[in-house]
């Protein structure tokens, strides 16, 4: 039978191999190369193997394995099977190969199933995966990322050194930190800028703008906002955002303990404003935890609700929402005011322990007619490069509007 396209392995050939035309008859398998060399494997000596890149190549070897004749041509296996002593090995090898390819298909299906499952899990379970990954990380990760972020950010205003202001804000944060969960260390900066804003970075870096202090009629309003921001820190929302942005693969990497590149990603996210703008669920959680902290601190938890209301009213009247940066990152105020007040009602009365701070004096210190605060801020601005400050102010506004 034949001829079949195939080949020969034999030491006598140049390079040890050559293509050949094969025939099969009652004596065995015969091969002749294009160069005219002929090779024979007698049927009784032929040891069969099935393999090759296609998995369908038949090898007929002599017992000393010095000579091998092979082919994957159609009909070659049938020709081999027609030899009395080879019909059983051919059938056996075929059965074996079929079982193997079935296993291969099963394995492929299983692997595809895993990929799909991971995709679905990634889509619906990112929060969970992210949380699990974050909880496994040491607190130093938050601190490192927070420091990196604040050093790479355009803060948009000079630092305020007026002790009337900084002492007041520090006192509020100290009181809240004492009653907040976790033992993060907080570093507070007050910056001179019109924007009504405050935010916290992972690890406990807190930034408050004079615009927000000037807008708050009572200390409890600012304390409410700060309690909310501290909750973002203690609940590690910043790192959760990073985990979400990393996607499935990244979260897995986190779980597997690979911290490389995490900081770089954090800085990138920072630039995109993602680290200080949280999801709805995170905001709800920060509101709830903020109210609990205010309550535990002996401060009026309704402060934040009153501040929300004030912001909303002013925004409706003035139609210049640009400076209300904190609001733009904290939408759905009506609903949140309602939620906060419902939670306060459920908590019962507070044992009030007001802070001894002259809030009106603080507000005067940051107000437009505050000579001292103004000149202090200017002095600080010249310490840094003034044009850089001007740039960063414009830059941060542009970014906020984009979001």
């Amino acid at each position: 039978m034949g001829p079949f396209d195939g080949g020969v392995f034999d030491k006598r050939l140049q390079g040890g191999r050559a293509g050949a035309q094969l025939t099969v008859d009652a004596h065995g398998v015969h091969a002749s190369t294009t160069a005219g060399d002929t090779f024979d494997v007698p049927a009784r000596d032929c040891q069969l193997e099935l393999g090759g890149a296609s998995g369908r190549m038949w090898f007929c070897r002599t017992p000393d394995r010095q000579l091998t004749i092979y082919s994957e041509a159609r009909g070659f296996a049938e020709a081999l099977a027609s030899l009395p002593n080879l019909s059983q090995p051919v059938a056996e090898l075929r059965r074996h190969r079929r079982a193997e390819s079935r296993r291969g298909v099963l394995f492929l299906l299983a692997a595809l199933g895993m990929l799909i499952a991971l995709g679905i899990a990634g889509y619906f379970g990112l929060d969970y995966a992210g949380r699990a990954a974050i909880e496994a990380l040491p607190r130093e990760a938050d601190e490192r990322i927070g420091r990196l972020a604040i050093n790479s950010m355009d803060l948009g205003g000079p630092t305020v050194h007026d002790k009337t202001v900084t002492d007041a804000v520090n006192a509020i944060v100290a009181r809240l930190a004492e009653h907040a969960p976790g033992d993060f260390e907080y570093q507070v900066r007050v910056l001179d800028a019109e924007t009504v804003n405050a935010f916290a970075l992972p690890g406990g870096q807190i930034v408050v703008y004079t615009g927000l202090i000037a807008k708050a009629e009572a200390l409890d309003e600012v304390a409410g906002v700060l309690a909310h921001e501290i909750a973002h820190v203690t609940q590690r929302h910043g790192l959760q955002r990073i985990a979400q942005s990393l996607g499935v693969a990244g979260s897995l990497e986190l779980l597997l303990g690979d911290l490389g590149g995490l900081s770089a990603i954090a800085v990138e996210l920072m630039r995109a404003g993602a680290l200080t703008s949280y999801g709805r669920d995170q905001e709800r959680e920060a509101d709830e935890q903020g109210v609990l902290t205010m309550h535990a601190s002996g401060l009026d938890a309704d402060g934040i609700a009153r501040f929300f209301q004030k912001l909303q009213k002013e925004q409706d009247e003035m139609e210049i929402p640009e400076i209300f940066a904190w609001m733009s990152s904290h939408p759905d105020l009506d609903e949140r005011i309602a939620n906060v007040r419902a939670q306060i009602d459920s908590l019962g009365p507070v044992a009030e322990q007001p802070l001894e701070i002259d809030w009106d004096a603080v507000r005067r210190a940051v107000g437009p007619d505050a000579e001292a605060a103004g000149s202090a801020a200017e002095a600080d601005a010249t310490e840094k490069a003034p044009e850089q400050n001007a740039d960063s102010k414009a830059g941060s506004k542009a970014k906020r509007r984009k979001r």
Partner: protein, 234 residues
Amino acid sequence: MDTSLDFEISHRPDFALLTIRLAQGQQVFGEPSAMASMDTTIHLKAGLRGGLRRSLGRAFGGESLIVNTFSAKGGPGEVTMAPGVAGDVTHYKLHGQRLMLQRGAFVAHGPGVDITGKWQGARGFFSGEGLVLLQASGHGDLFFNSFGAILELDVADGFFVDTGYVVAFEDTLDYRVTVLPGLGVGSKVKSFLFGGEGLVCRFSGQGKVWIQTRTIHPFLSWVHPYRPQGRGGS
């Protein structure tokens, strides 16, 4: 008829250059981007070779649809070819046996050689190197390139090669993509789904494997930060 080509591979192994001296009437077929220079006696014709199906197979294998045909019509002459990446060029003589090539490895072949794409199914899916390999068959000369130097290995029993290092292998070898034994379960799952370290080709049977001494991916990620920025594109 003797279809053998008169050729020389110089500047090995880092920046190998393939020079083919064609007798009058002889032809060679090359990857379009590979041609570096040619004599004026050489006639160049770009086009599909081997029909649309074979060309499509090549395209899926990562090669371009088009193969340039260089014919020495106006008298004998030289064609030189330089592969796109820094590395070596290897000559392989086909006597009716067949060779599987990693995508992108093809440089040129002489008359009597056929190149087609071969769907690799699940094995290609997991190797991360492409679903299709090129298969060279027939009688004649074949030239392929590597990134870095190239090693020719004779497989007797079993042999593991990282998937990124495989350039070519004879089709008498059985191969499957697997995870390096001895890795932890976590890294196994990771390398299986996302590629990278630990994913290997396990060769068995009898035949030759060519492996390159560098892989292209680390090189690309090393170069990436130095590329000019800011002019759009990727």
